[in-house]
Symmetry: C2
Subunit: 191 residues, 2 copies
């Protein structure tokens, strides 16, 4: 059993590693981030990282999870009673996030997921699924108050709303923008 | 100046390298493909590859371009006069292609493009832009015959049609399918 001060040192190392992993991946991209560079930045040995995580993707993903769970960045969805306004608020927030350097970390994980089913599953579980569920909850409440048809295909609606944003982000055809959000909402939501 | 037989040997090497690059990247993914493995498969030295290409991404991209330009796989768009039927045909072809092992090469390039603007630009120029233009041409012809409103936003329409397919492909939320294509078409095209 570890003593209280050992446990606290251990917890301090963990947090320092997660902060270092997030900073490294945000600044350099996942590709150029290494266990060595995370260890150096956190001021710990490589073995300390391998004690808790088995790969750089695993530690970066947990760092991203911590970051995503901070106040104001969670998966919660606005609900003012006006579906169109709430979707606009939330999607513009996604556009803003996609344009920050920190988003490169998430992009790097999506890239890594193309060749690694385990990362793909983790990204889905940690990042995508909670946000899709929050959106579906909001759409269901809109159905209950008659802002959406009772038989609307909500899973399809999520893909129509967010597919165009990810299309621009990942294929890099052009930058995501508030104008794109407004055009998508006008085309996809009933008038 | 090279003699005719030297030029032919040179051309043979080039084709062997492109075929090897396509096969390697399709089987192993871009990540695990190396200049060494391409050279070994093509039966040439590494230096022969570096004479023509500066990176594995460059040679794989040219291999993909050759493959994409083969008869029946080009960027041409069907035009039977029925926009909905033609989009269904073309998008179901995309779904079929996305489900083949060879598509992993394109996914690998999209993944690599997240951290490399040069690859992003090349993927856009070689693969995406010609297909988007072919689709826009088809949509414009539909406008001319009144199957789409004259003021429809065709760039937005392309993102609404293909965004959901790429969303599923790259975020790996679930497999792309003909049912998804039909649902997207029903939602996005005017009745």
């Amino acid at each position: 059993m570890s003593t209280p001060s050992e446990a606290r040192r251990s917890q301090d190392s963990r947090l320092a590693i997660l902060e270092a992993a997030f900073a490294e991946a945000s600044e350099k991209g996942l590709h150029s981030t290494t266990i060595e560079s995370i260890a150096a930045r956190a001021g710990v040995g490589k073995q300390t990282i391998y004690r808790w995580w088995k790969s750089k993707a695993a530690v970066v993903l947990e760092a991203l999870e911590e970051e995503a769970a901070r106040p104001g960045r969670g998966a919660s969805f606005p609900d003012t009673g006006d579906l169109r306004a709430d979707l606009r608020t939330q999607m513009r927030g996604v556009v803003r996030a996609m344009r920050t350097p920190a988003f490169a970390t998430y992009r790097g994980l999506i890239a890594a997921a193309q060749a690694d089913p385990e990362i793909a599953r983790a990204v889905n579980d940690v990042i995508i699924a909670p946000r899709v569920h929050a959106c579906l909850d909001r759409l269901r409440r809109a159905q209950q108050v008659g802002q959406l048809d009772g038989d609307a295909d909500l899973d399809l609606l999520v893909e129509l709303l967010y597919g165009p944003l990810y299309y621009r982000l990942l294929l890099q055809t052009e930058p995501v923008s508030n104008a794109q959000v407004d055009a998508v909402l006008a085309a996809v939501l009933p008038a």
